[in-house]
């Protein structure tokens, strides 16, 4: 692509964006773009050579991330972003592999892969944009839709209970676990930097609005959702993962919950399986 002219203003993340793919598909009021730019800002902030990054996305609105980022990237099939990322990391352990995906992709159709990658402490960074719904296909109930919330497939309320994602990550063996909302973009960027630098399986849940397919059905206007994120959240680092259920009436806990050191699969592989 042609270099920007000297007097032309350049977007600070231009180096990392395939501008020819713009405009993006995210709806107005959607939070994916904010999380995406926080992720790119974190990549820049680490100071690591861009060639040492790879981004993997699954299916869904956030899945478009892999198409917009100017890195080696993969837009995979539904639910399989973590196995792809695992393959990339095992083939080239020097890469920083970021999975940029959504709650539907990572925790419903791909849930099995998540728990096993966490169990192995695969050295990858998993960013989950949780908008409580299957946004792209039109707002069907997801494994993260709060109990009794409405969706296209539960018009009178969701009879099921949602996952507590940080608890699942912790219980499965993740060694870095955090939760933020998309309006906490500074904390989010800092958390992404930490996660990228963390050796082992890092998981960051980012709560994000889907005004079209979640907000509309649940009578939460775009700005009100952001207000909920601002007013009904509590930052409590090292909180007990069992107490992280999402209930905005009680207040949703944000922060860094887990940051521990455990060997990664390639270290263990080296120790156990290599010929001596």
């Amino acid at each position: 692509m042609a270099k920007a002219k000297a007097n032309q203003k350049v977007h600070p993340l231009e180096e990392l964006i395939r501008t020819e793919r713009l405009p993006h598909i995210w709806c107005s009021g959607c939070g994916v773009g904010t999380v995406f730019s926080a992720c790119l800002a974190a990549i820049q902030e680490t100071g690591i050579d861009h060639k040492k990054f790879s981004m993997v996305s699954g299916i869904g609105c956030s899945g478009r991330g892999a198409g917009y980022v100017k890195l080696d990237s993969f837009h995979t099939t539904h639910g399989r972003s973590i196995p792809f990322a695992t393959g990339i990391k095992m083939a080239n352990p020097s890469l920083n592999v970021i999975v940029f995906s959504g709650d539907g992709d990572l925790f419903a159709i791909g849930g099995n892969h998540f728990i096993h990658a966490a169990r192995r402490n695969m050295d990858i960074t998993v960013i989950c944009i949780n908008n409580f719904i299957y946004g792209m296909t039109g707002g069907q109930v997801a494994a993260t839709t709060p109990h009794m919330d409405r969706s296209a497939t539960t018009p009178y309320g969701n009879p099921e209970m949602p996952f507590n994602l940080p608890l699942m990550a912790y219980a499965s063996g993740a060694t870095y676990v955090a939760r933020w909302t998309m309006i906490h973009s500074r904390d989010l960027t800092d958390s992404f930097v930490e996660a990228i630098n963390h050796r082992g399986f890092s998981f960051i849940e980012v709560l994000s609005p889907c005004p079209i397919n979640y907000g509309r059905r649940n009578k939460i206007k775009s700005l009100d959702m952001l207000k909920l994120f601002a007013d009904n959240t509590i930052i409590k680092n090292n909180a007990d993962p069992a107490e992280l259920d999402i209930d905005f009436k009680k207040g949703v806990v944000l922060g860094k919950f887990v940051d521990i050191d455990k060997p990664t699969p390639d270290e263990n592989y080296e120790k156990v399986c290599m010929m001596r």
């Binding site: 419903a108 039109g138 494994a143 497939t153 539960t154 018009p155």
Partner: protein, 393 residues
């Protein structure tokens, strides 16, 4: 009351499902089949059906739950597309091998990669050996009619096979067309009650499903499926006749459009046939003897019937909307097999078109008829296999 209404293809399928009132519908959303289940879940929520709806976590689970519910003795339906059905693949075979008469709407969409959401037949053609009956439709009326007939075909005691009711993604699934929605009671009466075979919930007579079956009996079970699929051909004909008696619309295993005195014929599947008919009408006005053979039942495939229909035809262009890399298109392969034993074989050749939703316009179809005219005049098929409307071709 029967009524004419303007509705999308996907909407038509959910209306059909409402009338059929299945016992269980397990489903997972995937574009462009999503609306079928979305509308249907509203019917469930509004109490318009008695269905147990399960919003599962993947298509693999959806088809697994379909099989479980059918084995338990229920009438079961679902809907999917493309990668969704690809994820069901393992279970597609289980459904047909366990002889569960599940009915699935398949809104045809291209398979990844690269990811694409538009119409082609790579999903259903890939599953052509999975032991499912496959019915295709040109428009939403035909898709709805196929859906209404599907449980009756699937549940015939000498068939007991699952049915895939296919239509083109977006072109039919998302476009509003007018169609005749039949009276609820009339449809229910036509379909009748569900009769279960060896239900697992019948605890007085315990049965085991899918248990280990090696060299001793596996091949007999496969042959039984083959025979059931052969029986399905008669079942489709018979159910279509009953349907015509009650609802007035006649269907065969395939549709012959202005084929009786035609010299040059296109054979195709699904929505493109509508445009082909328009072109044929235009050319017929000018005295050009052209026709269309539109496939409705791809599995079972009506070999003898097609050979007989093409008896007096001189040249056949087979349009495939899917690829079998390294081979001819799947429809072409069947058509040429059908023609092998015919005493007078027409010239026949294959064109691939419309992968990933690329449109074939009426002018393109005129071009096809011009090309096969030249082939017929020169007596030589210049190119046996080619792509239509492709860059670098």
């Amino acid at each position: 009351m029967s009524k004419v209404l303007a509705i999308t293809g996907a909407g038509a399928m959910s209306e059909g499902m409402r009338q059929i009132n299945p016992d269980v519908v397990p489903a997972f959303p995937i574009t462009p089949s999503t609306q079928v289940i979305e509308d249907f879940s509203q019917f469930v929520a509004d109490g318009k059906v008695d269905t147990e709806m399960i919003t599962v976590e993947s298509e693999h689970s959806a088809m697994s739950a379909c099989i479980g519910a059918a084995a338990a003795g229920g009438r079961v339906m679902t809907a999917t597309s493309s990668a969704g059905m690809a994820l069901m693949w393992e279970m597609l075979y289980i459904a047909s091998s366990m002889r569960q008469p599940v009915v699935m709407t398949l809104i045809n969409r291209a398979l990844s990669a690269p990811i694409n959401i538009h119409a082609d037949h790579s999903d259903s053609m890939g599953a052509r050996d999975a032991g499912w009956i496959q019915l295709y439709a040109e428009n939403n009326q035909e898709a709805y009619d196929n859906l209404i007939m599907a449980p009756k075909i699937a549940e015939k005691m000498d068939v007991r096979l699952p049915v895939m009711v296919c239509m083109d993604g977006f072109i039919i699934s998302h476009c509003v067309q007018t169609m005749q929605l039949e009276d609820d009671d009339k449809v229910k009466k036509f379909i009748g009650g569900f009769e279960s075979t060896y239900p697992v919930l019948d605890t007085e007579n315990p049965s085991t499903w899918g248990a280990l079956d090696l060299q001793d009996y596996y091949i007999e079970h496969k042959r039984a499926q083959h025979i059931a699929m052969k029986n399905a051909k008669d079942a489709i004909k018979k159910v279509s006749e009953e349907f015509a008696d009650i609802f007035g619309r006649k269907y065969e295993l395939f549709e012959s459009y202005r084929i009786d005195d035609a010299e040059r014929v296109i054979i195709a599947i699904n929505s493109v046939c509508g445009e082909i008919k328009e072109v044929i009408d235009e050319r017929r006005e000018a005295g050009d003897k052209v026709g269309l053979l539109k496939i409705r039942s791809f599995r079972p495939f009506p070999y003898e019937e097609i050979a007989a229909a093409l008896e007096r035809v001189k040249i056949v262009t087979v349009l495939d909307r899917s690829e079998s890399m390294g081979a001819y298109g799947p429809l072409f392969t069947e058509i040429r097999t059908a023609l092998f034993d015919a005493p007078e074989k027409p010239m026949v050749y294959n064109r691939i078109f419309g992968l990933g939703g690329r449109e074939l316009f009426m002018s393109d179809i005129h071009d096809i008829f011009e090309e096969n005219k030249t082939y017929l005049e020169t007596g030589k098929v210049e190119k046996m296999f080619d792509y239509l409307k492709v860059r670098g071709g």
